[in-house]
Symmetry: C2
Subunit: 385 residues, 2 copies
């Protein structure tokens, strides 16, 4: 590609141990995955060695919430940007201690960082906290960070970045598979058969667990619907479902992504108030129905003859939601990403180990048909040890 | 050093054209230097090909001032972080147009960025605006950015970074030379003879031009003392000089650095008010005297038998200040950096081209004896094209 392509000699000749760290917008924890990657016959194999989810330190979480919600002195961002890297460093030390893995064998670390701003359309920018230089220097391990800015600089949405990972691990030779991730929001990647010329498309489809979780917390003081039991015991409120489906986002053309700005606590509060006369389980059932609907509705619109729906993310554990997905799309198979060798809880953290490996192999990772960027690009800034 | 050391094959075999961009805390402009660098016999040669100083776009300057001075939404920083890279990109395009230089021949770009926060002691952090990923992707040229975080992460002050440049270009085989930079603040690097075991020391010594410029603006509406003529025609106000010299900073032990927090407009306003009965030229003379004093006083304290004082920065044009430096230190030679082949106005921008070259050569650039860092480190985050 250019003279920087093979910047790491011998990199691809043997397995590399890479740590991926994911911290999502929900601030629910820090996912750390140690993976073994290797390039074999132009494919990149990945194997999860260890996975750990850590709590955010309370003060840091509070400071991040402040930065997200109100004007703050720039020193506060500067502080969090550095300090978060120290938290990441501790997560990696903990993971190595628990798994008795020698930190010196880690080849590199890929960090998503904590998103503090993402608005590629209006202000053409994206910002993650977590400084690669700081992490690389305190652990003496190379770090790749800031994966989204490159795509945004090239006119893309900077998200989603997971489709290149989905392509590598969930594509079929013959079918159009659908990778589904159900986290706070839900997103899908439509993967044409491996040698097809059809471009990959991907997008957020709407709220994943965020509304279900908010209602469970409000009515039962429990953070999620265990196995989907509340929803299973409720009835659809048709008037409410109609209202939910009328949200403009579902009809917005691609590329599109969404977040708690649209589907957050405020939206959940509004629903509780408006439909206060119904039993809690009916509300939970209805928002669960919504999630199943917008996922399968987008699949139907974006894909002609899909093969298998491959689910990852916390929503995978909601068995009632899984049942509804399958019932909405009886012609498709449904399985979790484990069937393709990918731990569904660790998927996002593994993805950032994979993206890190690609960057240090000199490979691009954004998909212009997904993000709208003007070209492919090697993503992320490299900090040497 | 490690397997990343020679990450760019053939990099050192031929001359590389590197752009360095410096934007100082005074927000007085964007310095862009295109340099030719080459490694010959373990030395790095540097030659300035083109130099340009551009104005800051007004809105960007206003937004930066806001970020520096008051709480602001995080979106504002995110926006400036990206947008400043677009301004840098335009500076490089302009420089190539003016000099008829082919942009495709530029090997890499090193950016200092705009410092928005620097407090290594209290909050252990430093923050520069200007995103390397954005600049690298829109120009398709590798970029090195965020040079200070690494040293701060290792317990250092993250500043000054220029001593490694001073060592390369201003050291003598036999004498202890002193590199002096007189910008808004003044700093010195004490350079022992080349093969000496004596460590390099360096520090800010106090206000450089900042007070002189502020008084010239107030009394004459002129941004600086041309050739030092106002000072030459004034008399020292001894009471004022005594007060100035009593500032705690001059006695603070190393490592130390200072800025407009201590010696800014407020300080200048205070002096004008307190010594309002004296003629303007006497005040200008007195602060000029102060600058000459603290520079030579620090030299006397930090160096036993210095050889030559080598001056760069805007203060070099203040001929009266130069005269006073020489009179304070009659035993030392005095010359401008031009005598050593370095354009004194372009020095700082050239320094970031040099630091960029070192990083991409896998060489460390901080000097632990200067910053207090626990070890040497390769500085800056690398963004590929």
């Amino acid at each position: 590609m250019n003279r920087f392509t093979n910047l790491l000699s011998n990199w691809n000749n043997k397995p590399q141990y890479i740590v991926g760290i994911m911290t999502g917008t929900s601030l629910d924890g820090i996912d750390t995955a140690l993976c073994r990657l290797q390039t074999i016959d132009n494919s990149i194999t990945i194997e999860l060695c260890h996975f750990m989810c850590s709590e955010y330190p309370t003060t840091m979480k509070e400071n991040i919430v402040t930065l997200l919600n109100e004007p703050a002195p720039i020193s506060m961002y500067s502080h969090i940007h550095h300090e978060l890297s120290r938290v990441y460093a501790q997560c990696i030390r903990d993971l190595c201690t628990k798994s008795k893995y020698d930190m010196n064998s880690i080849s590199a670390i890929g960090i998503h960082g904590q998103t503090l701003w993402h608005d590629p359309r209006q202000k053409n920018c994206t910002l993650q906290a977590g400084n690669g230089e700081v992490l690389a220097k305190i652990l003496s391990i190379p770090v790749v960070s800031d994966f989204r800015s490159a795509d945004v600089a090239l006119g893309g949405t900077g998200a989603p970045l997971v489709p290149i990972f989905d392509k590598e691990y969930f594509s079929s030779d013959t079918d159009t598979n659908i990778a589904i991730n159900i986290g706070g929001m839900a997103n899908i990647t439509v993967l044409p058969p491996r040698d097809s010329q059809t471009p990959i498309v991907a997008c957020d489809t709407g709220p994943g667990n965020v509304l279900i979780d908010a209602l469970c917390m409000k009515y039962y003081n429990i953070p999620f619907d265990n196995n989907g039991e509340y929803a299973r015991n409720g009835f659809i409120i048709h008037e409410m479902l109609q209202e939910l489906k009328s949200h403009l986002f579902y009809r917005t053309p691609l590329p599109k992504s969404t977040g708690r700005e649209f589907f957050g606590q405020d939206y959940a509060d509004y629903l509780c108030k408006t439909y206060a006369n119904y039993p809690p389980n009916d509300l939970i059932r209805t928002v669960t129905e919504l999630t199943a609907w917008h996922i399968t509705d987008h699949i139907a619109r974006l894909s002609n003859n899909p093969g298998t729906m491959i689910v990852a993310g916390g929503g995978k554990h909601n068995l009632f939601l899984m049942k509804r997905l399958k019932e909405n799309m009886p012609q498709l198979s449904l399985c979790s990403s484990e069937s393709f060798g990918i731990n569904s809880d660790a998927k996002e953290a593994m993805c950032f180990a994979y993206l890190c490996y690609r960057t240090l192999s000199g490979l691009p990772s954004n998909i212009p048909s997904v993000t709208g960027a003007s070209r492919e690009a090697i993503l992320g800034s490299i900090s040497l040890p």
